[in-house]
Amino acid sequence: MNNTQLELIAYKIRKHAVSAVHSAKSGHPGGSLSIADIMSVLYFDEMNIDPANPKNPDRDRFVLSKGHCAPALYGALAERGFIPREDINTLRRADSYLQGHPDMKNIPGVDMSTGSLGQGICAANGMALAAKLDDKDYRVYTILGDGECEEGQVWEAAMFAAHYKLDNLVAFLDFNGLQIDGDITKVMNPTPFDKKFEAFGWNVITIDAHDIDEIKSALNKAKDCKGMPTLILAKSVKGKGVSYMENNPAWHGAAPNDEQYETAANELDAKIAELEARA
């Protein structure tokens, strides 16, 4: 799939995410928008997955360690055909299977239930280790939040992945610089991420999280790196694609009202139309 097509899917994922959060009147749009390009590349270019056989034991795995960005995951699953697109707007409803945070028991394509920060990357480690134990070549992908790295458990996992040489594991770190209470460096500075992960024994690649080419290239470099896990430090814009949400921590966990949603939808639709014309 070419880069324009992948960018188009990223914007469709963004539209699903914003629409779902608006419909639910709650949820986490900011971080969902910042990971949309990564999700598009993973689900449409990188991962060996099959919507017709979501439990295939040899499939690649994905764990959304920053589980609150479920709207982006559900958007990717809908676009890829794991769940019907029309279900997206049932997010967070008591009669829906689309839980506020990913639920592996009831949502096709979700490989791990996450939401409590710091735990997803450890589960991804477990999956990568299982592949090693079984001599299988599937790969495991996870996305960490930057604020999430304030959880000590993340660093237990960082130690573990390097110690057991999990070169079949790729962790993206969505470095959008904002958490609920504001600038991550002011709340509780977890940076510098590159030096820390390097010191823990990881192969670190820094990219622009919204550059499809850089995402693809980093994933290829990760495959070439043997004997150590790869961290892709992805510098992103929280709220990417919706002008008034960009770089504003207020949109970490707030839903747009009807008027705001209309503005967001118009912006995203315009971008989708532009990309469709080019794709």
Binding site: G115, Q119, C122, A130, Y164
Partner: protein, 313 residues
Amino acid sequence: MADKKIATRESYGKALADLGKEYDIVVLDADLSKSTKTDTFKKEFPDRFINMGIAEQNMMSTAAGLASCGKVVFASSFAMFAAGRAFEQIRNSICYPKLNVKIGATHAGISVGEDGATHQCLEDIGIMRTIPNMVVINPADDVEARAAVKAAVLHDGPVYLRFGRLAVPVLYDEAEYEFEIGKGVLLEDGTDVSIVATGLMVEPALEAKKMLAAEGINARVINIHTIKPIDRDILVKAAKETGAIVTCEEHNVIGGLGSAVAEVLCEEAPVPMERVGVKDAFGKSGVPADLLKEYGLTAEDIAAAAKKAVSRK
């Protein structure tokens, strides 16, 4: 046989090493394999033993990831650091998605002894049994402990296995004993009062029966190895037939076996009830036998509680 003493943590390690031959189990430990006895498994199956280092939270969530790929995973540490420190990982990573992870928690209770309060977990039964999908088992002896480990392997879903540090008498004959998750065991019949015990307290419960017999009280003794799901039938029957209940556990009286039994009986067959256990206190350093005495966990304490329960009928 009665003279033979084996700590249930020894049974755990031995069972893992035996079961490893037949089942594709993976064992994780957090730098305590010599104490939890998972090193017995490690010696047999070094490729399927993963040392996590001193990182219990990571251990539980990693176990979840392994289990999601089809492994039967045992995650081991002391009860304090398994159930206590990693509670939320057990809840969210393991129990919520109902993954096939077995928590092998050793060094439970006050009989840890000399290490003192920080290492004597008296709350684990309570906190583990409040989690949906979790099975909680506290075996009484070597035979039961090994049977419980096998049952945990065969059970689809999370299991919390509570083992002790202290060597305890072997109560069961392996050739005859049939272990079933959720099924209480009638050890001694009786008509005046029922003593319901779990884990290390089963043996003093049997002793208490003898003491009570000398005073003309005919006590029933029931072993509840599975605290969740609890055997409601055996408890209701005991309450109705004997009219008084005493629970015995090496655990805080809040939240553990006593609470679980009270929940059943309040709903189905309320009778006078006494709870033998640690009375909402922290432990301390000491020789296990001295601590069991000081904290009121002896056969004498059970017999006294039984008499009190009978007097309240």
